[in-house]
Symmetry: C3
Subunit: 203 residues, 3 copies
């Protein structure tokens, strides 16, 4: 139940982020809808396909489909109001990756996979919808370098498996891991922290 | 039988469209073959993988493989004659998306999925081979905005499920849905109709 | 056993090639790790997903994960020494595609697929990790045209199935096929051989 609610919240957040990028690319309504779909379910689809959960989640649960269509219609209708929320795109995105990281880890645990694989699945669920959105919109997928992004997901995932030694309740673990993802990303952007790039000088 | 024939016709149409794009990118013969393959089976592969039909269709049916190799050899040998067919690239593409939309819907119905998911599968089958072709050829995947494209597939799919209330015979339904896709796309290009973009003015 | 060792060697070669590209793109450490992963397991993941081997190989065998993490840490720590190996990027890549071609063919054979499909799986395993790396790093996926690349894999695969008529021992077949891939690629680059492009003159 708790698991399903956060899944839906993440879906809304990502769908709206997809709508905003697609509208800025001057797409037509159906193009916007497809980008909203890809952004919202892309990461989870990749995850499901790689562990063999098929048909993939969103095909077996019409809730996701209605939520994405609803979010898209909402975002399109109130697009001029959303402009005041321009900076909120960042916040939506941040909540989305936190929620999806947790969903990805949970899916990995259910499939009985190794903690490292679960963290990889969480990161994949969180980040690859946005990567696919950027590739389809012909944007550079900045995710891997411009900001702390995947790093926040990986740290959230590590937190989950470290705290699991001390905490019993999965729901608490998920909430804490999600908050770590949000916190890491917000702090990183607020204080312009980023990991040093590993660029090799070509002396 | 009918189902298989339209699948093969769509495969030929898409393979040739892939050959034409790849040759314009000055690829070598094997590069051209790979792009022909990706264009022809990319959308269907994505569909099969997402609903769990594995090994994917083209691996279990050598007909597709021979048809793609044959179409590629044909298109390469007669490439100078094909130049007179330059505008035919558009027609091939249009027939291809109509046929693939129908195949995608059928696959979704066989898997017992919801009508909305079936329409999504039809659109995916029709459009994502071309999207993958464009990404691999480093072209901007124009599909989502330049012309009515995905929109035609979605309208064809909707027609299918609306008419299903009144018509029994699946073959008729498929033919009508396919013709709707072709008609919508031809009319849209002929009369330069496109859906309004949802670009937000940044006043 | 033999099969597993070459799989691991290919993984190391590709992971390091991914690290080098990602570092040149000034990615942060986790970005570099993700690109190393995608490069190393991308082609095999695509192969596994398309034939229905799920969860995909690297999720069921932590060896791959540790090998990739280890190779990444090694390549990052010794990045200044690796600069002297700059031309080795090419060699790593060549060994990698030879090994992966063989692994892909073997996987297809185990799944009981047609020789042509096995060759396609070998080529896919070898080439698509690099294609995904290039797409994620916003590089043009040069693979299909700049150099003999996929062509070497296809020729190696053809050699395997032709020699199979005369040789019993699979290990010998794999070694010979792999050497053909390496030889074709090295000779092509050494003597600047490339297949003629099929560009159509637009007289």
């Amino acid at each position: 139940m708790f698991f399903q609610i956060i899944d839906i919240l993440g879906t809304i957040a990502f769908a709206i982020s997809g709508v905003l990028v697609a509208m800025n690319k001057r797409m037509d309504p159906f193009g916007v809808l497809i980008i909203a779909f890809v952004t919202a379910v892309g990461g989870g689809t990749l995850r499901d396909v790689m562990i063999g959960v098929e048909p993939v989640s969103w095909m077996r649960n019409m809730t996701f489909v209605y939520v994405i269509i609803g979010s898209t219609v909402f975002a399109v209708l109130f697009r001029n109001q959303l402009k005041h929320l321009r900076r909120s795109l960042f916040l939506f995105d941040t909540i989305g990756i936190a929620l999806y990281t947790v969903v990805g880890i949970e899916t990995g645990l259910i499939a009985g996979l190794h903690p490292i694989i679960c963290i990889a699945l969480g990161t994949m669920t969180a980040c690859f919808g946005g990567v696919l959105r950027d590739i389809l919109c012909n944007e550079i997928p900045v995710i891997f370098r411009k900001e702390i992004y995947a790093t926040a997901c990986i740290l959230g995932g590590l937190t989950y498996f470290i705290l699991r030694e001390f905490l019993e309740d999965r729901n608490y673990l998920f909430v804490i891991a999600g908050l770590i993802v949000i916190l890491v990303r917000l702090l990183a952007v607020r204080f312009k922290i980023s990991l040093p790039s590993l660029y090799r000088k070509e002396e």
